[in-house]
Subunit: 321 residues, 2 copies
Amino acid sequence: MNSIEVVLGIDIGGTNTKYGYVDKSGNLLAEGEMLTEAQRPADDFFNRLHTQAENLFASKKNELKLVGIGLGAPNGNYYKGTIEQPPNLSWKYVDVVAALRRWYSIPIALTNDANAAALGEMLFGTAKGMKDFIVITLGTGLGSGIVANGELIYGHDGFAGEIGHTIVDPNGRQCGCGRRGCLETYASASGIRRTMEELLKKPAPPSELRQIDLDQITSKRIFEAAQRGDKLALEAFELTGRYLGLKLADSIAHTSPEAIILFGGLAAAGDFIFSPTKKYMEEYLLNIFRNKVKLLPSSLPKGNAAILGAAALMWKQILKL
Amino acid sequence: MNSIEVVLGIDIGGTNTKYGYVDKSGNLLAEGEMLTEAQRPADDFFNRLHTQAENLFASKKNELKLVGIGLGAPNGNYYKGTIEQPPNLSWKYVDVVAALRRWYSIPIALTNDANAAALGEMLFGTAKGMKDFIVITLGTGLGSGIVANGELIYGHDGFAGEIGHTIVDPNGRQCGCGRRGCLETYASASGIRRTMEELLKKPAPPSELRQIDLDQITSKRIFEAAQRGDKLALEAFELTGRYLGLKLADSIAHTSPEAIILFGGLAAAGDFIFSPTKKYMEEYLLNIFRNKVKLLPSSLPKGNAAILGAAALMWKQILKL
């Protein structure tokens, strides 16, 4: 019997780590999840991950053949196979590839989560067949993966694709990176929350969000209010789209992509975020780029997108795509 | 006797067109120049160009073997081989490759002048051996060519690399492109002139430039004044470097290059422009990119850089670099 070749895709997140075995068409044939527990040593994490992934694999041993491992992680560096100064993990520096080499002699590759998302879209999602596109992940922060000439741009040091830290206004909002006015302080789940905080200081218009405590306001609550036609919530989305559209116009001037794909929590707000983003993106675009660049949603299955992205990193390498 | 393989490099400019035969090491073995005269039909231009280039070649016929043609032109499109809506030529749409195909059956390729400059630096200049870098041409406007993974980024439509039209301030200076606040309205020969116009409206400090007519002020005059220690001229360079540094920090967040190479008239001001640009670039950079990205001058011979760039486009293709 022929076994199916699979890649182990691993998404290391701040709270949870998801993993699964993915075939070359993007089918997730077995999956698991565990707590990252990054307050404990990284070694402990890799021991647990290896044990769990092996147990899962053992149950499918006769059907599957493991040919590679792909990982996505915050601040994952493709060239070095390391995680460096991750923003939401307490590990300072981890040589991920070396850690897994204790057990595996197959190819292993690592990149950051937004780059993995871009590769997932390219192999299995919205960007299938595209050579030039950008994926924007709108989560707590704003991540990005840029593909040009059919290749992910890693840059000289492996850290390319930080559109979330391009500057909207050098005197603007304080960013976690230490600077001011980064795009992710405006266009992200936390960004729209800050926009709403500012809007609530104005006396009008009335809003259901004026009735609840400031610390209860989340991007989800703003979305729900917008669905009910809340004017202030709609204004928050309008402003968020304006900041994002302005900076996406800059990104397009760099790499002239066929499409920009919005991914992640805030992108799930659909038209509330797509419509103003598209409007302002077109308004701020240089004429030669106008009405050319598609703004599209991700088409990866929501819960598994990160595993598929991590696996895509390795599949691209194996299949020489 | 073995003949030397050469590429015909052609730089089509608003006023003059330069051309020359370039070997694979970047030696310019024969060269010529003619008026572009873009107010006359494009056909007339190509007829003259072909005749002159052939006359020049005839004198070296025994030594040289022509293997390809590379062209750089404003709004030159690599994919289509066309010039479209060039900002400083009255031709609206010219199929350049088709025009030359009447006489030549060898490979012909076209790109815009800034992309050609980037390829010139990669094959023959400062960027030799680099896989990730950006060339910024500081002329009347601001052009750019972005190289990532060893390949020039053309983008989906062939128009990538328009850093001059990223936006410093959406309510800023009127740009020739119809929008406001484009980087090239600040960081270019015309941009520093506009900055000086604004500075001259302030009552202090004293400056030799206050003595001359406004329409006599050029970037060259500002440079000469700066060399004599003129405070206002130095302030104009400081502001120009601030705008440029701010937006280069954004560009670095996109492609994380090893170096940014400044090219063209304003770059010839040396430290006056490099020093503030570097200072503000570092100030506005995300921490992971700080003190990593070199800011370098072009090392192509000044008068011939554009011919070498155009020839490099074809040599890269022939040598599969």
